[in-house]
Symmetry: C2
């Protein structure tokens, strides 16, 4: 990967939750072809976890997370970042409004996932979403990324209890058990339901499912976003479509 000496800075609208932000930052670090500290991506991270719970807000049809998120975007703008990322699938429910509110490009996590698939030679296919019920309810993955002819699908209801259990077990630190249940869900989606792959759209799932038999079928959405951020920093590539500008910074 050729690198220019100028690295664009990435603003991270984080804190949703704080551990997911750290997970994203680690993935950026790992995805960067750097031999010295100075070759790493400049990050400004707004990790302010006081943003109200996104799933609850969507469920209760309230808009409480929007203004705190916009305040975060404003701070990142003031720091002069070249692009913004939001390492939280659920928060992308507010993506369109946030993107319209700023001149700074916001890289969309679903575009990053589609781009990652395209880089693997997959511009089509059916991909099952493994995520919390809250994320699935957002419809965030209904987005149709440019150049991607495949589909992201909510799998049938029978598999969701397994996904819920896997996430719960990782949060409880029971990784071996999480791996067992998660692998069961994966086998069902790939072998029985015939999906071409699975998008892990939740921070906990990659912890449970890395290095399992179906690993090659899994795509970690956070990792895809991290790689997209690194490419943007190094090459300025993968520019999102221009935002409609409602309000200048």
């Amino acid at each position: 990967m050729a690198t220019s000496s100028y690295l664009r800075s990435i603003g991270v609208l984080g804190g949703m939750g704080p551990l997911a932000t750290l997970d994203f930052m680690h993935k950026v670090l790992d995805a960067t072809p750097a031999a010295t500290d100075q070759q790493h991506v400049p990050l400004i991270v707004h990790s302010v976890p006081q943003i109200p719970d996104r799933s609850t807000a969507i469920q209760q049809q309230t808009d409480t997370p929007f203004l705190p998120m916009l305040a975060g975007i404003r701070q990142l703008e003031r720091c002069g970042v070249d692009a913004i990322v939001i390492p939280c699938n659920t928060a992308h429910f507010w993506y369109d409004r946030l993107a319209r509110s700023t001149q700074t490009p916001i890289l969309h996590i679903v575009d990053a996932v589609a781009d990652e698939l395209a880089r693997q030679g997959n511009t089509g296919g059916r991909y099952a979403l493994m995520a919390t019920r809250g994320t699935l309810a957002t419809g965030v993955y209904d987005r149709m990324p440019t150049g991607f002819a495949g589909s992201f699908e909510v799998p049938d209801e029978s598999v969701q209890p397994l996904v819920d259990d896997t996430i719960r077990l990782v949060k409880a630190g029971q990784e071996a058990e999480a791996r067992k249940i998660g692998s069961q869900a994966l086998r069902y989606l790939i072998d029985e339901q015939g999906y071409d792959g699975v998008v892990l759209a939740c921070t906990e799932l990659p912890v449970a499912l890395r290095q399992t038999a179906h690993d090659a079928y899994c795509l970690d959405a956070t990792l895809a976003l991290a790689r997209q951020a690194v490419r943007f920093s190094l090459h300025g590539g993968a520019q999102p479509q221009p935002n409609i500008i409602c309000q200048a910074a």
Copy 2:
């Protein structure tokens, strides 16, 4: 630990290096008595690793890291953080000038170490510094924190090769070997040299020395700073002495 509902925000002047910043952020997360995401400390993290290498600059008697660090402080100020921390021992070589340049309090890592010792009932004693030669050369630990009557000492030259090897082995991912060599250095300092404890003033050393026989004698400077930051966020306590204001934000 009683918490108020208002949490003060902490600005992190990071990127020195980026992995040390993540280490600090993990320690803040672990040190916070939080049951929900929303109870975690709001952090604005300036992780811009393009700041020139601090040890090299000190060795070559150049001042190149100062202005990039000051630029980071300015950005954190603009974000309105309530206090700033610098999770890099060596960078504290520039502490006084940075602190005089801003109205925002900067928590000093050596004050945090002394405060941590005091909280353990140690307001005196002789503590050996385990750190890179670069950090030792800064004289950062010559600071005399208020209320601390002990001393931080550079141990005799015979132990430094063991410290250098321990750091190098951790960086190379050889933790078991690092633990062996690091423990040897610790035994020498505690059992033969009679130090009351050892300050691990380097990100790599706690990785090698946690859960070893002499663990109780070790104080992780990054962890002390993280705990100080959490206390400041929760209680506004441990205010550093007022800075002399050279230039308003």
